[in-house]
Symmetry: D2
Subunit: 443 residues, 4 copies
Amino acid sequence: MRGARPTKMERKLPSPLPLPARERLRVRAAELAARYASTRAATEQLCAPLAVDDYGAQSMPDASPAKWHLAHTSWFFETFVLQREAGYHPPHPRYEVLFNSYYNSVGEQYPRPRRGLLTRPTVEEVYHYRRHVDAAVAARLDGHGGPLPAARLDVIELGLHHEQQHQELLLTDVKHLLSCNPLRPVYRPRQPGATGAPLPSGWVAFSAGVYEVGHDGHGFAFDNETPRHRVFLEPFALATRLVTNGDYLAFIEDGGYTRPELWLAEGWDVVRQQGWTAPLYWKRHDAGWQLFTLAGMRAVDVAEPLCHVSYYEADAYARWAGARLPREAEWEVAAATVEDGGNFVEAGHFHPIPLTAPSPAGNVVQLFGDVWEWTQSAYSAYPGYRPAAGALGEYNGKFMCNQLVLRGGSCATPASHIRATYRNFFPPGARWQFSGIRLARDA
Amino acid sequence: MRGARPTKMERKLPSPLPLPARERLRVRAAELAARYASTRAATEQLCAPLAVDDYGAQSMPDASPAKWHLAHTSWFFETFVLQREAGYHPPHPRYEVLFNSYYNSVGEQYPRPRRGLLTRPTVEEVYHYRRHVDAAVAARLDGHGGPLPAARLDVIELGLHHEQQHQELLLTDVKHLLSCNPLRPVYRPRQPGATGAPLPSGWVAFSAGVYEVGHDGHGFAFDNETPRHRVFLEPFALATRLVTNGDYLAFIEDGGYTRPELWLAEGWDVVRQQGWTAPLYWKRHDAGWQLFTLAGMRAVDVAEPLCHVSYYEADAYARWAGARLPREAEWEVAAATVEDGGNFVEAGHFHPIPLTAPSPAGNVVQLFGDVWEWTQSAYSAYPGYRPAAGALGEYNGKFMCNQLVLRGGSCATPASHIRATYRNFFPPGARWQFSGIRLARDA
Amino acid sequence: MRGARPTKMERKLPSPLPLPARERLRVRAAELAARYASTRAATEQLCAPLAVDDYGAQSMPDASPAKWHLAHTSWFFETFVLQREAGYHPPHPRYEVLFNSYYNSVGEQYPRPRRGLLTRPTVEEVYHYRRHVDAAVAARLDGHGGPLPAARLDVIELGLHHEQQHQELLLTDVKHLLSCNPLRPVYRPRQPGATGAPLPSGWVAFSAGVYEVGHDGHGFAFDNETPRHRVFLEPFALATRLVTNGDYLAFIEDGGYTRPELWLAEGWDVVRQQGWTAPLYWKRHDAGWQLFTLAGMRAVDVAEPLCHVSYYEADAYARWAGARLPREAEWEVAAATVEDGGNFVEAGHFHPIPLTAPSPAGNVVQLFGDVWEWTQSAYSAYPGYRPAAGALGEYNGKFMCNQLVLRGGSCATPASHIRATYRNFFPPGARWQFSGIRLARDA
Amino acid sequence: MRGARPTKMERKLPSPLPLPARERLRVRAAELAARYASTRAATEQLCAPLAVDDYGAQSMPDASPAKWHLAHTSWFFETFVLQREAGYHPPHPRYEVLFNSYYNSVGEQYPRPRRGLLTRPTVEEVYHYRRHVDAAVAARLDGHGGPLPAARLDVIELGLHHEQQHQELLLTDVKHLLSCNPLRPVYRPRQPGATGAPLPSGWVAFSAGVYEVGHDGHGFAFDNETPRHRVFLEPFALATRLVTNGDYLAFIEDGGYTRPELWLAEGWDVVRQQGWTAPLYWKRHDAGWQLFTLAGMRAVDVAEPLCHVSYYEADAYARWAGARLPREAEWEVAAATVEDGGNFVEAGHFHPIPLTAPSPAGNVVQLFGDVWEWTQSAYSAYPGYRPAAGALGEYNGKFMCNQLVLRGGSCATPASHIRATYRNFFPPGARWQFSGIRLARDA
């Protein structure tokens, strides 16, 4: 989950009586200053339940310590905004290597699997670093040193979306870390009211035709969502709701994890090598299946949307169910027809929640929030795709191989971060994100 | 490279005065008997240059010993044709496990990376096994035991295409094995006349629109080529010819293997971990680049089509050249406009050969034969795809993950095996096939 | 470095007028109470320079987090002393698994390579746990609940030596962790006065004969030092002093790391696989060799004893120097002739220091402290060796395979912990301990 | 198992009336010529049951193909004898790299784990190579080109012992290879008469004292057996016979493989990681334990000496039995008291055989032949040890790390190859040699 080129932001504020360019920049800078403050604060708010001890550990190469997320997101603003200003002197020049994630154009990187060994700077020092960067960015947005050019404002906006991506990763990485501890620590106690009863699932049909997908340039988007372009879709149908734990239990009980004919060859290899018998975080107890959540261990709720499955599991489940996973264009066509509300991080559940009522009028629901929905589409370039120039061109394009697209955001995604054209991507074996399943079929 | 469901073979012989069904079956069986004999003989012909010593070794997990190919292709006919006949008694019941490649529905498999340890049965015994299977299949095709039903004839036809796939693999696996030997053994001396001079490359433009791709059901196709369906293509252009060694040398000399900005992140990791500095089989000598071929080591010929590159290298080269790789539908649309002749295995070059004249009228040439052309399309199911029923459903579908499609066949492909809709597939790091590059771009 | 059965403690206090047994126990308990308090405090004192952030990280599977050392040493007293008292209720029963190092007889263990993931209990909670254990042990030593039997006092004494072993490991593990950080954090600034000038080395000869080695039972010893037994030694000589950095630089400059004929086959494999060109923590800079110490990076001092070499390097150096490494019995025979003073952890150098004057009368010096001295003796059981009964029998004996004995203690060893019969042991590739070289030769 | 410096061969022929030096050389050359012919023929005789297919495969990195053994032993004579003669021109100069095992002083080596990929030279070509070397060596021994100097004769003698070591390895490597094949091919059918009934085991006591061990220089020995030197042994006892399959079954049935307290820590890790539940080549069937032999699968015979156990298993068994493994000096002291007859390769059993009668007068029996006996002694240099000069100095010394000494030879050892001072060595996890157990204890 990484992001990109902020294109044509000016289209965002069409005005019959256009403001002078300079004034437009000032207004946009003020707006960004407010979003900057709230977005940066939101990241730190997610860290509030952590002990100092929790910030530094890295539970696997794919995950990063919370402290690293805090520092890297600040490094992003320092590197791509502050460092490009004449006369800026970084207080800690060696952070450039420590907190560079993967930007070869910027320079060397500290090896990713060893991030947990960076006990210095300390958590306290990293917060100081954040304060330093925040003050400098705020000053620039406030006009100190002259007005920021549009291109620099674009980068700040990109940086805020980047920060939101790391908010989600911070949560999923902390969850994975805590799950490794036999004490099963609680991040935040469960909120009341996140329950429901199983509801039936139906199908919504879509007809064949040429559709437009991809971002149209109004408002922010990552470069990988562009350009908007045409696709032909044969007739298809999408399930009205997400697959639930109850649905998936039927798969497990039907021998799902022991029947090779249901699996991709590569998935079956992983099942055997890793000994998978259930989604990540599930444990079978005498009294039935339990799962680990950010609120600790509890019983599996059959009405709840399934999460923490890999693409391999999603694909095998779909095959077992006589269906398939959606193509990303199919998902986007459907998503264009609905509101984008849902169970996002601001709701404070930190977990998908059950539906409490049937889909009105048989519409597709739960497209946004709750869980990222695996699609069968490999993550690749849209026709006419051009990565951003310079180092930020590394944001998205270089990952277009051996990854699958997921759509719709999750219970760990900030609401303002998601949209119908948003393309998340992970390799097929990834399970530690809040990833789930929506079925599709040929009509 | 694996194959599938032979659909609707009967359409192949439309006749104004339809033969009685029984007679149609008899005619088709006779035709298949002839193809069976020639195809099986062709496999053995490819082994003629091998010493007994060469048959058994396995140079890497992806490759198989020549002896295993000989046995497995026979196992295929025994398992899917002979074993389904009442009263058949296999002479070597334990071969079922030894020579099963990946058919979980059939039963257990001997571990793939250990095929080189099967010194028994000996080469001589495997040839006896082939004789046994050949006699039994020929007898059945000749009508002994009653006429074969159409479904069984379909499987025999599939088996012949399967055998042809293994002919190509046998050659690429032998090449890899011989390349591991510092003595650089020669499989067959080079034929005269396989030279030429570099020629310029141009572009052929194609307009946007809805196109049909996939197999239409007339004649044999693997299940992964079906069903024929519609796609929308934005305007694009394809290079008139393949990328040559000379073209690629310019990339190498421009630091291609040392510049991360040209590479997919995953590709760059592989370049560093494996220390890649050139295509597989290239060695830098004092006198310049040499390459290993089935005719031994020789100097790199700049006019010759490049081969033995991975998807990562193909993608990086295209980015360096300011272009991209084709989508598979783009390739297929172009291929529908040309004849399917080319440099196939029957030509006896066992290596791509230079063009000897410019493309007539600026057309796209070299689409068939010479080298498999990497596309940017992940190998996935066509809309409406249904795998074959039973064990043969494992032929193609279960590999639809983390592989890229290649098109057009190579100098190791039998001419009668290839067609415009044919989809080969390999993971992005694979280099031991005759895989090369054709450029594309957005128009 | 792990320890064992306290044998025949009573011999330690021979008295012409023996005290009544009960009084003897009381006196010994009082003495142990004082040592318990000071030893436990010393561990925590070593942690004083650490930030909370530093306590939890694990830099490699062989090392443990400081927090884990603090908890495990407490677990040891809880498990082997408190838990064996009727009526003891552990405040955190699940710590039994978390902080068990390798005692299969006690039960399951949390996987060693994942100790860095135990962010809970926090550092603060672990210090609370120490307080709890300390109060309970002190109360028992003070006679609450009745006098402790001799066997239990033996275990407490063992626990104190165990704690001292972990003091050394804590330091070497922290050093390794800090070395992984490009910021090169300083544990404690260097003390003044730890310098000197290079001095020549000589040889001290010992004659052939039957010698006694091993512990005689007066005072504490680990079970692996017993029983005292006879060995025959052919005539030999030991170098008067340790090998210095200057000595070793001559080896490096003579191509030591590039000449296979100097190395054990296994050592040469490691040199090539790991790319070794110098001892651990050495870096070549433009201005010459630097090394990382607990006081940060500084120039290599040629007069200083060499440290952080593996057995492979020690062996290769000795071969290059036309000598060999000592046998452990040779070392022990020599050590029996000298005082056991030296540069131990209490000196606060946390690094070996140069000699400031030639060895008086050509004696062997630096046998104790500074660096552990690799011997050529594989770690194995003495004739008549019996491991302690019960779980504590796992302390030493089960490691008697593929390890070499080191002798004499180091600058990280507590002075009261070492003795001439002490056997430390590590696998031949280990470099993160303060391990160095003394030469020997056949006389 | 590798060998060394032939020292002081002249002592072998003490004569009252010494022959002239030149005549002595001639006599010795003639004697060696006869041994050369018979030893070389014996190697090829062991290959008689192999198909060409069997010669080339390598079943694991520790093993080598039979063809490689045939070529390497010839390479040894070519490199260390023929190449040192002026005017010798090797017919295949590139064999120098292909068939060099580990002599860095000679030059580069083809990577050991890839020996199975050398399909060329073919088996036939390797036999031609042997013929060439044999003719050249025979001519020199016959005096063509002048008399061979003593030093060269020493090397030829070493080469014959080297060849005998490879005879044993060839057999154990072929056994391992065939065991990987589910067809369980038979190397040679079992001979009649290799059965017996279980007999009780007793103890023979040896008193404490200074003993001499090591080779005294009369006759051939490897350098690692020298010099003869003194050791002090505390009183000990050795079991009269080898541990049998029946003895070991009691260990298995008592939960031997599931009780960590019986195992070295490293051994227990291996047991769990590799899933060991019995010796190598044992399989549990419904009807009881079966084992794979060079005569195929058959039932485990309880009277037969146990073989194919690792040091870890030998050590665990001894602990379970309340005993220990012998030290190598203890074994040698005992062996000096007995005849060196036994079940060697010439007997044609290719497997240990049961005792048919109790040990006469309670003596130690089965010290020679049947199985190599694990000792608890790490393989290390004797006091005063000096490796041979030049490349042959790599023969033994560089392996003195992380290996244990085994004594006495096995059913795959040529009778003329073994002696009481002979030191074989393998790492503790090795199981594919004919390695078994004799118990010892402190007296």
